[in-house]
Amino acid sequence: MTGLTFELLCMQLLTGIALGSIYALLALGLCLIFGMLNVVNFAHGAFFMVGAFLGVYFLGVTGNFWFSLVLTPLLTGCLGLLTERFLVRPLYGRGLDYPLLLTFGLSYVLIEVMRVTFGIEGLPSITPDGLGGSINVGIGYFPKYRLFLIGATALIILGVWFLIQKTRYGLIIKAGAADQEIVKVLGVDIAKVWLLVFGLGCAIAGLSGILASPTRSVNPEMGVPILAESFVVTVVGGMGSPVGAVVAGLLVGVVYSMTSLFFPDLAELSIFVLMAVVLLIRPQGLFGKAGAMG
């Protein structure tokens, strides 16, 4: 390819990281739920979509992006709590497939609800004041919002890391994932922990929805393709590994972006090739433990 410069490569890398941030965030929520509850949440993309809709709606009503950035994950989180308590909980102990099918169905219900509420066209997304336009980053102009996106994602991931590694709750979550029997014996109400983890996962999905909304159009089907991509990320990173989700999310974004530069036709395919290669070399994913699906 002619005209390949250092600036172009860096720009492409930065674009890939911005893309990967959303993947990382979504996959993080997915893998928290899987790692802890052993539930493959097929409604994750739908929670992402609901988050985008609510975010744009609140932003339209209040005109305040920061307010809707707080309110939206709270609401999708509550929706997640309700989902766990009334839909997922009765299915524990029946293996992977029952909750998988249930959440798959739930995603269609959520899509339909949004279609009925907001119409099939979706909503025009809004870039928050002050974050529109682009800024010179030394190698060229890059959209301000995408820089903000990278920063915000990093903060959220740090927050989740802090919660899991540095707090008492995190200790319980980790212990619960390792051996729930012992945690129960120690007097922890594991059902409550599961409830909160599911809610947290859904809140993160909603948050990634509103964060992603200014970069793309908001419509009822927006969660479908990105769910497939986040599963690729989760598998590449290793099912149930939060570190894997983050690393693989960024990796997938960068691979997609770099492939777009050289072979645009193969960009979509590239992430699946990446998954195949990783699975051949490390069947449990980059950071996964062997037998996580069992």
Binding site: G3, T5, E7, L8, M11, Q12, T15, G16, A18, L19, I120, E121, G122, P124, S125, I126, T127, G132, G133, S134, G140, Y141, F142, P143, Y145, R146, T215, R216, S217, N219, E221, M222, P225, I226, Y256, S257, S260, L261, P264, D265, A267, E268
Partner: protein, 411 residues
């Protein structure tokens, strides 16, 4: 989709029930209903083109209503049977076959995608059913896909992309980059733009293909910026176009190049908002703002506003209207619902339903019509419907179309 069908069935039952209750002649009503002229209408009610598809249905219903209010054909009323083809060629073929075999439709009008209309056309061609396509395609008029039962109400990429090339290249420059949705229609738009561009001395720097329905285009944009073209042509459609336009704006591409698109749709502009589309120009078959200069556009808009709460029809909506109008008018002229008689009446039809005079070219049944070049505006908008400035109208002429011989038809 299932829900749509049941909704329709329910609505039909309600209408039927109301009719039965309100008139003592309900037996006659039932007889007349059994004898309606049925028009099958496959269109992608779900998926990335759903906004356009919904508008097609709304305007088609208006055309049906006008026909029925005017007394129908010898007292026979028309009826629209809408089916969701989900933007999938296989689904479209199945639904069309069902419409023909199970629902016994007399004609098929509809579609919204190059690929689905070709699969619908293939079914109609085989079953010898008249199909008036209201979506853009070049292939459908070519001898291998075309049959005497095929009509093409819509513009095609040769006409729209050609008109956009003829307008933009002399004004903005000759170095072109395409960002193209990787499917039949995307490729047709590129081919047509290049065909017109060649005569003007334009060169293509790159044709970057992306998968249909990609939601993030940012990964393609640094390279486009580095290529530094005079004109970036977005050869995608619906939500793809909305996302691409938005991200091109975010990445600041507009400061160094002109962004054009062969088909700039009203619905896409509404979904994307003024900021994303600011300054982007493109071709279209219809814009409601034509009503200032074309009386039939005014009449069509008014009828649509009256039926749908003051909203205005979109470009693809207008095609739904015209597609049905042409078939129903031809039945009246032919004084018969027999397919071949309707076909020859349509071949001789001179009509002006909503945008000025049109006719179907004899050899390939392509509707010869004007192409409107519009530019999206972000300032001085009167209301939410006021989104475009009309830059120019390329007149009705067969000169800009591919010749019948080029398409493989014998003269």
């Amino acid at each position: 989709m299932k829900q749509k069908v049941t909704n329709q069935a329910r609505r039909k039952m309600l209408i039927g029930g109301a009719a039965a209750a309100s008139t003592p002649l309900w037996l006659n009503v039932a007889n007349a209903q059994a004898d309606t002229i049925k028009i099958g209408f496959p269109t992608p009610l779900t998926g990335p083109f759903s906004a356009e598809a919904q508008d097609q249905v709304k305007a088609a219903e208006l055309a049906i209503k006008e026909f029925n209010d005017a007394g129908g054909f010898n007292g026979r009323k028309a009826e629209l049977l809408v089916r969701d083809d989900k933007l999938n060629p296989g689904e479209a073929a199945t639904r069309t076959l069902e419409l023909i075999e199970k629902d016994k439709v007399n004609y098929v009008v509809g579609s919204l995608s190059a690929a689905t209309q070709l699969s619908i056309n293939a079914v109609c061609k085989e079953r010898k059913v008249l199909f008036n396509s209201i979506s853009q395609s070049d292939a459908i008029n070519e001898a291998k896909d075309w049959s005497v039962y095929t009509f093409h109400e819509s513009l095609n990429p040769t006409m729209t992309a050609g008109a956009v090339a003829r307008y933009s290249i002399p004004r903005y420059g000759k170095k072109i980059v395409f960002l193209t949705a990787d499917y039949a229609y995307g490729h047709e738009m590129v081919r047509a733009f290049e065909r017109a561009g060649k005569e003007l001395g334009a060169t293509t720097l790159a044709d970057i293909r992306h998968p249909l329905g990609a939601s993030d285009y940012s990964a393609f944009l640094p390279r486009i910026k580095a290529l530094n073209p005079d004109i970036l042509v977005l050869c995608n459609f619906g939500r793809d176009l909305v996302n691409a336009a938005k991200q091109c704006t975010d990445f600041g591409l507009k400061s160094s190049m002109k962004i054009v698109t062969p088909v700039l749709l009203y619905t896409a502009r509404l979904a994307g908002g003024p900021e994303a589309f600011e300054g982007i120009l493109g071709g279209t078959g219809y814009y409601w703002g034509l009503e200032d200069r074309i009386p039939t556009a005014k009449a069509f808009n008014d009828a649509f506003r009256k039926m749908y709460n003051g909203s205005v029809p979109s470009d693809y909506g207008a095609l739904g209207y015209a597609g049905i109008k042409s078939v129903l008018a031809s039945i009246k002229i032919a004084k018969s619902t027999e397919t071949m008689k309707v076909v020859s009446a349509m071949e001789n039809l001179k009509y002006d339903w909503y945008k000025g005079p049109e006719y179907y070219r004899k050899c390939d049944h392509q509707a010869v019509q004007t192409v409107i070049i519009v530019e999206s505006k972000s300032k001085n908008m009167k209301d939410k419907y006021d989104v475009f400035n009309i830059l120019t109208i390329e007149p009705t002429t067969e000169k800009n179309m591919r010749t019948c011989a080029e398409l493989g038809h014998k003269a």
